[in-house]
């Protein structure tokens, strides 16, 4: 009888303990949840709603347009140009940045005197923001005041040439991301076991063979991770465009985010720019899903 009562009381305290724990958990999650609800999910919902509507140029009243607006915007030259410039920007920044980052990391991955100094130098561009790096490249390649503006190299990234301007903008991003790329690749290289390289050396592999047959496969998860990070950075390019070209010449450097930003100042473009933002969202989701697949595979690899 007493024993039964005891277990009953115990059961009840256990249950109330569970409830308490759940309340505590929700309390701990509340601050984050509020921010996520107000500034992530609520705006996403509104974005979808805006994308189906049209607003007049005084910002009064929404008229329902339906999914037809999606088709109209997604096939408009405005969106396709923005998409093209964004993808080209990614194409100009990611491979070059990756190759240079690997070059720096391989060159600096040695146990020799004074190498710490070179590590510090190579990682130093991590101290620059996109805006700061853009100022650095205004100094270098701005057509009016840039140091390189009048030299023969300038033709490859002349900010006043419609065909080359985007490459100039991309160049500043490549430089700005070098520090981060270097740090991550170097960490990957340092995780490659030394015995493996010694064994390969004994097997008569020369340094080029060792790099392509052993190092590169072993650091490929790191490189894939970096590709995703750099691609996402590329999708989000804005400050470098605004500071270096402000979309000129002839709109040839207007990326998607640049268009979304400029359209945000025109109430009549609310609907179309929301469709563009959703397009950007889809791109981001695809790349993030890719990243998730890589990360989960990487965990298995470690096991």
């Amino acid at each position: 009888m007493t024993a039964q009562l005891g277990s009953d009381v115990e059961g009840r305290t256990l249950a109330s303990g569970r409830v308490k724990e759940a309340f505590l958990a929700y309390g701990f999650l509340l601050p984050s949840a509020l921010v996520f609800a107000a500034f992530f999910f609520y705006p996403l919902g509104r974005l979808v709603w805006f994308s189906l509507n049209r607003q007049d140029r005084f910002g009064r009243g929404l008229t329902y347009e339906g999914f037809g607006q999606w088709g109209d915007v997604l096939s408009s030259t405005d969106f396709l140009d923005g998409l093209k410039h964004t993808l080209l920007f990614v194409l100009y920044t990611v491979p070059l940045g990756l190759v240079l980052g690997v070059l720096l990391a391989v060159a600096a991955n040695r146990k020799i005197r004074g190498i710490k100094f070179f590590h510090t130098v190579f990682s130093s561009t991590i101290a620059t923001s996109v805006a700061v790096a853009s100022v650095v490249f205004v100094v270098l390649i701005n057509p009016k005041v840039g140091y390189l503006a009048d030299t023969w190299v300038a033709q490859f990234f002349d900010l006043s040439d419609p065909d080359a301007a985007l490459r100039g903008v991309a160049l500043s991003s490549v430089w700005q991301n070098l520090g981060l790329t270097f740090i991550i690749v170097l960490a990957g290289l340092q995780a490659v076991p030394e015995e493996l390289m010694e064994a390969a050396k004994l097997d008569g592999y020369n340094s080029v063979q060792r790099f392509f047959r052993i190092t590169l496969p072993l650091i490929s998860p790191t490189l894939m991770f970096l590709v995703v990070v750099l691609v996402v950075f590329g999708f989000q390019a804005f400050a470098q465009v605004e500071l270096l070209t402000n979309g000129t010449p002839a709109g040839r450097t207007e990326t998607l985010v640049f268009k979304i930003f400029t359209d945000s100042q025109d109430p009549a473009k609310l609907g179309p720019s929301s469709v563009m933002a959703l397009g950007l969202f889809v791109l981001t989701v695809v790349v993030s899903a890719f990243q998730f697949i890589i990360l989960s595979r990487r965990v298995h690899y470690g096991n």
């Binding site: 705006p43 070179f118 130098v121 620059t128 650095v136 989000q236």
Partner: protein, 373 residues
């Protein structure tokens, strides 16, 4: 005539560039020498100290030589500076490339090894220029008057240096106010993100509650919703709240982040559950377990997330650009814009401002190399 002119200009540019490279090597190699000896804490100090001292003296000599070459560039002094730079560079390189174990243990090297090491250092120096040449140009552009620099034909050295440009940028161009605002915004965001992330991470790692998986998935989904995507509705929402040009507008949307929650949760999951059970037997509640056990144990993770959070907040551009219309609410990153896009006469102040904007992170990088690198 024209070809002669061309040859002369190529020659001048080549010479100028050679001067920059030499001056750079004359400083960089002694610095590498001194820092190398500095870092070898395991070696006996009677071997380290002289190397550090010699490296420091050579660095100083190299720096003076460089200033000589670029600042007081009269014909004779060019030559003197060149020779001094060449000497400091050679000594630095000789130290670096000869015996690897001079400090702590001796290991003689063959000539072939020394030669290949010389090649390695040459290559490393070349790559350093890739990073540092733009930095150098930025630096001299900040120091030179914009008009004077262009009139002088855009040389590789500063023209009529105005050393007070940084103090003028700080006070006249109001980078002091911009820095203050950036510091305030960054502090609020960093502290806020760390707190909300630690709390949420604790709930996911140690507490049982209904809908845990669903809520976790929703949290992680926010990683796919960068501000670039939700920009326009967020601007409208913040405007409706009356938060344009305000500290709330600049910070509140960033007070939580799934990245922090995820990283710190990973750290918490490394803590054995037995520890929680034991602490509860001792009468600890969850709050005291979190702050006295879990958080201290995951300090490295929390520290590196703090750095990530700080970098992100300090470097923000799009959002502060979108919701501030008054100059008084421009962060330091946004303030750079007006100098670059609309005011060529004050370009040097803007460039100096860009250097000021990079300094806090540069200091963080040098002081706390481990958590950034």
């Amino acid at each position: 005539m024209e070809t002669e002119l061309f040859a002369a200009s190529v020659g001048a540019v080549g010479l100028g560039f050679g001067a920059v490279v030499l001056a750079f090597l004359g400083v960089a190699l002694p610095v590498a020498m001194a820092t190398d000896a500095w870092d070898r804490k395991d070696a006996p100090s009677e071997r380290r100290t002289p190397v550090i001292a010699i490296g420091a003296v050579l660095t100083l000599v190299g720096a003076i030589a460089a200033i000589n070459e670029f600042w007081l560039a009269t014909d004779n002094r060019w030559a003197v500076g060149f020779i001094a730079s060449a000497i400091t560079a050679t000594v630095g390189l000789a130290y670096l490339a000869t015996r690897q174990q001079l400090v702590g243990g001796v290991e003689p090297s063959s000539n072939a090894q020394i030669l290949s090491r010389l090649g390695t250092y040459a290559f490393l120096c070349l790559l350093s220029l890739l990073i540092l040449f733009p930095v150098w140009m930025t630096f001299i552009r900040a120091l030179s008057g914009p008009r004077a620099y262009i009139d002088a034909g855009q040389p590789l050295r500063w023209i009529e240096p105005e050393w007070d440009v940084f103090s003028r940028a700080w006070s006249q161009a109001d980078f002091s106010g911009r820095t203050l605002l950036s510091v305030a915004v960054t502090s609020v965001i960093t502290v806020g993100q760390v707190l909300t992330s630690v709390l949420a991470a604790y709930a996911f790692a140690f507490l049982r509650f209904p809908f845990k998986r669903v809520i976790f998935a929703l949290f992680m989904a926010t990683l796919m919703l960068p501000i670039e995507v939700t920009l326009v509705p967020n601007i409208l929402f913040v405007r409706d709240l009356g938060w344009l040009n305000s500290i709330q507008g600049l910070t509140v949307p960033f007070l939580a982040t799934a990245l922090g929650t995820f990283l710190i949760r990973q750290g918490f999951m490394g803590i054995p559950r037995d520890l929680l059970d034991a602490s509860q037997l001792d009468g600890y509640g969850h709050a005291s377990f979190l702050f006295r056990v879990a958080a201290p144990l995951t300090r490295p993770v929390i520290a590196s997330f703090t750095v990530i959070s700080f970098l992100g907040a300090w470097n923000q551009y799009l959002w502060p650009r979108a919701i501030t219309t008054e100059g008084d609410w421009n962060t330091i990153q946004i303030a750079l814009r007006s100098f670059v896009t609309s005011n060529p006469e004050a370009l040097n102040l803007g460039v100096a401002g860009a250097i000021l904007a990079a300094i806090p992170i540069l200091v963080l990088l040098l002081v706390d190399r481990k958590s950034v690198v």
